[in-house]
Amino acid sequence: MRILVVEDDKDLNRQLVSALGDAGYAVDTVFDGEEAFFLGDTEPYDVVILDLGLPKMDGLSVLEQWRRTNRNMPVIILTARDRWSDKVAGMDAGADDYLAKPFHMEELLARVRAQVRRASGHAKSEIECGPLRLDTKTARVTCDGQQVKLTSHEYRLLAYLMHHSGRVVSRTELVEHLYEQDFDRDSNTIEVFVGRLRKKIPVDVIETVRGLGYRMNTTPDAA
């Protein structure tokens, strides 16, 4: 899952990046509105965390422009302006959630999880996929009730595939959603991680679709 953090306060930006990174997300970060619009317009983010008071271009305009160009990724507004008129304006501009500063990082993480889940069409915080079970709250994966120990990159890959289970996910899409913007994008690394994952979970859960990518089998026994 790839997240864009738009926050002009350097300290808060750093904290957000660190907390989201720890929670297993690939995080890109910008400090002004213009760059935020450009990145959000060109890169496929799973969630955007958007401050409203930004240099060069304010957050609401950034959001409105994204929506006008049909960029429909979930956006969580994070702002000190906590009046209901501000919230309504934010939601009307196309935000999906609104969090007022100061906030608890756990609260923000919960909202991010909720947006990721909703965007991929899952209602509950636990995603099941055959014998696998992903608890998005604790970032833990179990297989037939046994915890599967995963590295951060393995978790990112598996969580993305499980969020989009039943659908073919291309290598490019995986690269775009799992790594930060300035990461060395070599799609071979994906194959390496898939190979590692297959050693930890039943092999037939992640199906390779030749020439297209990977698909998470919701009913691996039938395949």
């Binding site: 000190a80 309504v88 100061p102 608890h104 909703r118």
Partner: protein, 460 residues
């Protein structure tokens, strides 16, 4: 009509003026007329006495000639009040002649009463007639054929003062009627004048009422030049008042922004730090956050309500809040059913209505299982001011509160469940805002089982 009003002042002063001036004018006119009538009467008497003196003193012998009455028919009628008399002053044996109307009586002689003669040699006296009737008499002294040193005669003519009095009293009656009618006419004219003249003031009164009730934002309409400066200043005052409040709100917002981001940084940093210092800083930062929120809210409340002339349509505010909250809570599947007829207006700031409705709906959404209901109505109450009231009810189907909890939360607006996200000051700002608008907030058990919050606020 109240005593302390411009209209009653104008009417009272003009009434006092009329009460003073009309009787004075009446007295003056009466006096002039009386003098006029009296001098005409006296002139008549003088003419008569001169004619009789001329006729009676042009005698061949030593006795006066009894004048033929070609002067006044009433000299012939007994006790008519019109008399003449020719009386010798020096010769006690000489005869005294009187008019037929005097019969056997005689009249007092002014000369003998030491009445001084005027410049024309006439002596004037008011005396009583044979029947005791008041008379006005004039006397000349003459001798037969005007011979100097001859025995003198007093020639006098008397006329009834009653005649004069009846003329005067009939004039007085007519004069009084005329003056009374004039007075009534003037009072009526004053009433009309006051009414018409004060029309612009009534216009201002209506305009101010419209501003107070929020129907108008400023004092409109074309007013007379005398009041125009007032209108201008008033509109400027309203504008600057709104300006000040808007500026205060903006400043509060800026302060919020300036404080809250660093506070978020401190909080996050402290919570990362697992040392006792970190815990301490985190705890203190939380207190700071609550205090900042509380006092920012108070500042907003204090800034808002003094402004007159603001009114907010409820339906658009409710619609956008419902839209936003349904979007925020869409994972939970909360359905907000809002019943708010269009045209209902809240007498106050839009932001305040948003704060109250937003916090109530937000609370309801947090606790609701599935359903949140918003009902907005308006009623008209008895009372002097703010008779139109807005009734807002927000209900949810959540767990609700016990009676004791409701009493506590209603008083302080404190957070009951620390695990629910949010600062918990939501209801406290609602309480403050409701109080500042002199409204009421009632917590009750909803029919669906959850909490029901009812607000009673001024409407327009």
């Amino acid at each position: 009509m109240r005593l302390n009003s411009l209209a009653s002042r104008l009417i009272a002063t003009s009434a006092v003026w009329l009460l003073l001036v009309l009787p004075l004018a009446g007295m003056l006119i009466y006096r002039l007329y009386r003098d006029d009538v009296q001098s005409a009467f006296d002139g008549g008497l003088e003419k008569l006495v001169n004619a009789i003196a001329l006729d009676s003193m042009n005698a061949a012998g030593t006795e006066p000639v009894v004048p033929n009455n070609r002067y006044e028919p009433l000299f012939e009628e007994t006790h008519s009040g019109w008399y003449w008399q020719i009386k010798p002053l020096d010769d006690p044996l000489a005869r005294t002649f009187v008019s037929a109307s005097l019969a056997t009586a005689t009249l007092d002689v002014p000369f003998e009463k030491k009445v001084e003669a005027d410049a024309g040699g006439n002596r004037w006296l008011n005396a009583k007639g044979p029947l005791g009737e008041p008379l006005r008499m004039v006397e000349v002294i003459d001798t037969i054929n005007h011979v100097t040193g001859a025995p003198r005669y007093s020639i006098l003519v008397a006329g009834p003062l009653d005649w004069l009095d009846s003329r005067l009293s009939s004039f007085l009656a007519r004069l009084s009627t005329a003056l009374a009618l004039t007075g009534i006419g003037l009072v009526t004219a004053t009433l009309v004048q006051v009414r018409f003249g004060l029309l612009p003031l009534q216009q201002i009164e209506r305009g101010l009422a419209a501003i107070r009730s929020g129907e108008a934002a400023k004092l409109d309409g074309e007013l007379p030049v005398e009041i125009e400066p007032l209108q201008y200043e008033l509109n400027q005052l309203i504008l600057s008042n709104q300006d000040i409040v808007d500026r205060a709100r903006t400043q509060v917002g800026n302060l919020a922004h300036a404080l809250k981001t660093p506070l978020a940084v401190i909080t996050n940093e402290a919570r990362e730090d697992k040392s006792p210092l970190g815990a301490k800083v985190a705890g203190q930062a939380e207190i700071m956050r609550d205090q900042i929120n509380y006092y920012l809210d108070r500042a907003r409340v204090a800034a808002g309500v003094a402004v007159i002339g603001r009114s907010t349509e409820v339906a658009p505010v409710a619609d956008s809040l419902v839209r936003a909250l349904e979007r925020i809570n869409r994972d939970k599947g909360v359905v907000i059913s809002a019943a708010c007829s269009p045209g209902l207006r809240f007498k106050g700031e839009k932001q305040d209505l948003e704060e109250m409705l937003g916090n109530l709906l937000d609370n309801a959404c947090k606790w609701a299982k599935k359903d949140v209901e918003l009902v907005v109505q308006s009623v008209v109450r008895d009372g002097r001011t703010d008779t139109r009231r807005l009734l807002i009810r927000v209900e949810d189907d959540g767990p609700g509160l016990t009676e004791e909890q409701r009493a506590r939360i209603g008083k302080r607006g404190l957070r009951l469940d620390e695990t629910k996200p949010g600062t918990g000051l939501g209801l406290s700002i609602v309480t403050d805002l409701v109080q500042s608008y002199r409204g009421t907030m009632v917590l009750a058990q909803a029919s669906k089982g959850g909490l029901s919050v009812s607000l009673d606020l001024p409407a327009t």
